[in-house]
């Protein structure tokens, strides 16, 4: 990371500037400039579970349309980090701003942020007592006060997009894991979020179903959606991500463009991690 790194190996400056220093390809340079909107801003974020310091001084800025993959060993705080963005986890110190809204105890702010940020979970978390269609219409009807007919139109549109429209009247329990996860993605998209968070979306899937979900995520990424994705699927990172962030022990250890990250990891810890996951 050049001049901004010293022995402590912690980025001190605003990420944007750092990335600008390490620009490797023209395409990335053209996407990121100082006039790009910062949609997620995290400054000095710290979180404790009781006495356990799980997020240490996190500084992170995400610009509009940026696709970020966060990886790292289990327990490193990756899931906690993105769950702080839609306030499913509460941070004790620091500032988190999403689309300009400050995340604090104010429930209005929290609801506002949650309506603009969609989340896809490892365990899908579809509502088992509702049909697929009802699962998708639920939030538009109750959070955006949409009439049922309009909600259904939106729902069908997104179901088509993820390729599940013929299952709309089935119940989640009747679908395979891959189908359920695609429905979960569609459910979040029905709220027209500007940011999508993915918390290990393929980790609970059988191998043959991972591809169908990744395809949906890639298609989504290609439409310019701002995405933060916690995943172990490095192929996804390589093909789609603008930035890869490596976390360990609650801090951001290294972040870079995918090519730089995978081909030329700078920090020993990153090298160690990559050697473990890329050779098996």
């Amino acid at each position: 990371m050049g001049a901004s790194w010293n022995g402590a190996a912690r980025p001190r400056k605003n990420v944007n500037t750092e990335l600008a220093e390490t620009i490797m390809t023209d395409t990335i340079e053209s996407q990121i400039g100082s006039e790009d909107e910062i949609v997620i801003e995290m400054k000095g974020v710290n979180k404790w579970y009781s006495d356990f310091h799980v997020l240490k001084d996190i500084d992170l800025s995400v610009t509009k349309g940026e696709r970020i993959v966060i990886c790292g060993p289990s327990g490193s705080g990756k899931s906690t980090l993105i769950r702080c963005i839609n306030h499913l986890e509460e941070h004790q110190e620091g500032i988190i701003k999403v689309n300009g809204t400050l995340l604090n105890e104010n429930s209005k702010n929290i609801t506002q942020v949650r309506r603009e940020v969609g989340m896809v979970f490892q365990q899908f978390n579809l509502f088992p007592h509702m049909t697929i269609l009802d699962n998708l219409c639920f939030a538009p009807i109750w959070a955006r006060n949409m009439p049922r007919a309009e909600a259904e139109k939106t729902a069908l549109r997104y179901l088509e997009r993820v390729g599940i429209s013929e299952q709309k009247d089935k119940y989640p329990g009747q679908l395979s894991g891959g189908q359920q996860q695609r429905v979960a993605i569609a459910r979040s998209l029905c709220m027209n979020p500007s940011i999508m968070l993915f918390d290990e979306p393929t980790s609970a899937l059988d191998p043959e179903m991972i591809k169908e979900v990744l395809d949906v995520m890639i298609e989504l990424a290609n439409t310019g959606m701002t995405m933060l994705c916690v995943t172990h699927e490095m192929s996804f990172a390589r093909s789609v991500a603008d930035r890869v962030i490596f976390m360990d022990g609650g801090e951001i250890v290294e972040q870079n463009t995918p090519d730089a990250f995978f081909d030329n990891p700078r920090v020993d810890r990153t090298q160690q991690f990559l050697s473990q996951i890329l050779t098996h």
């Binding site: 990371m1 790194w5 022995g7 402590a8 190996a9 912690r10 710290n46 404790w48 009781s50 006495d51 356990f52 310091h53 240490k56 001084d57 004790q92 110190e93 360990d248 022990g249 609650g250 801090e251 250890v253 030329n264 700078r266 920090v267 020993d268 810890r269 990153t270 090298q271």
Partner: protein, 366 residues
């Protein structure tokens, strides 16, 4: 690449800020989280402040621990000498006091066996045999056999009687319940219908009606020259009643066994009877140990109903004692003591049930 590699120095973990973690934060989160929370907490604290000091005052501060009825009335608090005076009767009923060592020995045996069971020192077939022998042993000790002076069952009473009724009830009703459940689950139509009829009939009516049946109707069913004493009739009633409930609990266990188990056993050439006895039933029982313990607790509580058909068990003796003219006006102490004893036994059993659940097969399914 190696000389450019940055050595990662992990940042030290800081302790959490005291405003967010620690006693103050806990209070804020758990007791005073919002205005609704605060109101509820304040109301509860007010209620506790109004009732607890008075209770403690009555039970301990102003209470009399030694003396007689007049001392108690003067002090105004709880009268514990009343309980002390009545203790033997509460424990054994009108059992001859000089032979009181015999029930005491049985009580010690029970406590020892219970402790061994809880700490898992004794297991398997030895455990089952030990528990089966205990009531027989108690019967001989308390009733009098092998040369010891006989004591008629009409003199048995108190906590000793409650525990005996419950113990024998549980020990006999579990195997009986298993048989009923098996008859209902695997039996041919006639057997199945009889089992269903028996189970649904006994579960559909209150225990009191069954006790009335045992007390009043059973003598009518028997040939005129055959007389079964009252205690035995009531014990049979409790066994049958409990067996119907045990059967339903065991049925749940049978349904939890995957069909693959029986298919595998049959495929190996094991006979149907052996498969049921050695593959299905043990697993089913292990699955439903916690609800079985729950039924034991229920049966022990149900023994209190025998007062209605004339047996003076623990609750019966408590009620009797509370009407004693020398100790008039101390009913509260009697019932508080009774509550304490019942609660102790039932709560310990429920803790054991929770322990079984923790150790059991469903908890190990990870």
């Amino acid at each position: 690449m190696d000389d450019n590699t940055i050595i990662f120095q992990p940042a030290p973990a800081r302790p959490a800020p005291s405003s967010r973690v620690g006693p103050r934060a806990w209070l804020r989160a758990n007791l005073f989280g919002g205005w609704k929370d605060t109101v509820v907490t304040l109301i509860l604290l007010a209620i506790l402040a109004l009732t607890l000091p008075g209770l403690v005052d009555w039970m301990f501060v102003r209470a009399t621990f030694f003396g007689d009825a007049d001392n108690c009335r003067q002090a105004g608090g709880a009268c514990w000498p009343f309980i002390v005076d009545k203790f033997n009767v509460l424990m054994m009923g009108v059992y001859p006091q000089e032979l009181g060592w015999r029930p005491a020995v049985c009580a010690i045996a029970l406590i020892v066996l219970a402790a061994l069971t809880y700490t898992n020192r004794v297991r398997g077939i030895v455990l089952i045999v030990a528990w089966a022998i205990l009531p027989v042993f108690a019967l001989f000790m308390i009733g009098g056999a092998f040369g010891m002076r006989e004591v008629d069952q009409s003199l048995w009473g108190g906590l000793m009687l409650s525990i005996m009724l419950a113990l024998v009830g549980v020990i006999v009703s579990i195997p009986l319940g298993v048989l009923l459940a098996l008859g209902r689950y695997y039996g041919p139509p006639v057997v199945k219908s009889l089992c269903v009829a028996f189970i649904e009939l006994l579960r559909g009516v209150p225990l009191i009606t069954i006790l009335f049946m045992a007390s009043v109707m059973m003598p009518l069913f028997l040939p005129p020259d055959l007389v079964i004493n009252n205690l035995l009739r009531i014990q049979i009633a409790m066994i049958l009643f409990s067996a119907a409930y045990m059967a339903e609990v065991v049925r749940g266990g049978l349904q939890a066994i995957p069909a693959g188990q029986t298919e595998a056993a049959l495929a190996l050439g094991v006979s149907r009877a052996r498969t049921i006895a050695f593959i299905v039933v043990p697993q089913a029982l292990r699955h439903v140990l916690p609800p079985l313990v729950g039924r034991c607790i229920a049966l022990f509580k149900d023994t209190s109903l025998v007062i209605i058909v004339g047996l003076l068990d623990f609750l019966g003796m408590i009620k009797n004692a509370s009407l004693d003219t020398t100790w008039l006006g101390f009913q509260a102490e009697a019932y508080v003591f009774a509550a304490f004893v019942y609660w102790l036994i039932c709560y310990s059993l429920s803790l054991y049930g929770r322990e079984l659940e923790r150790r059991g097969p469903s908890a190990q399914k990870r």
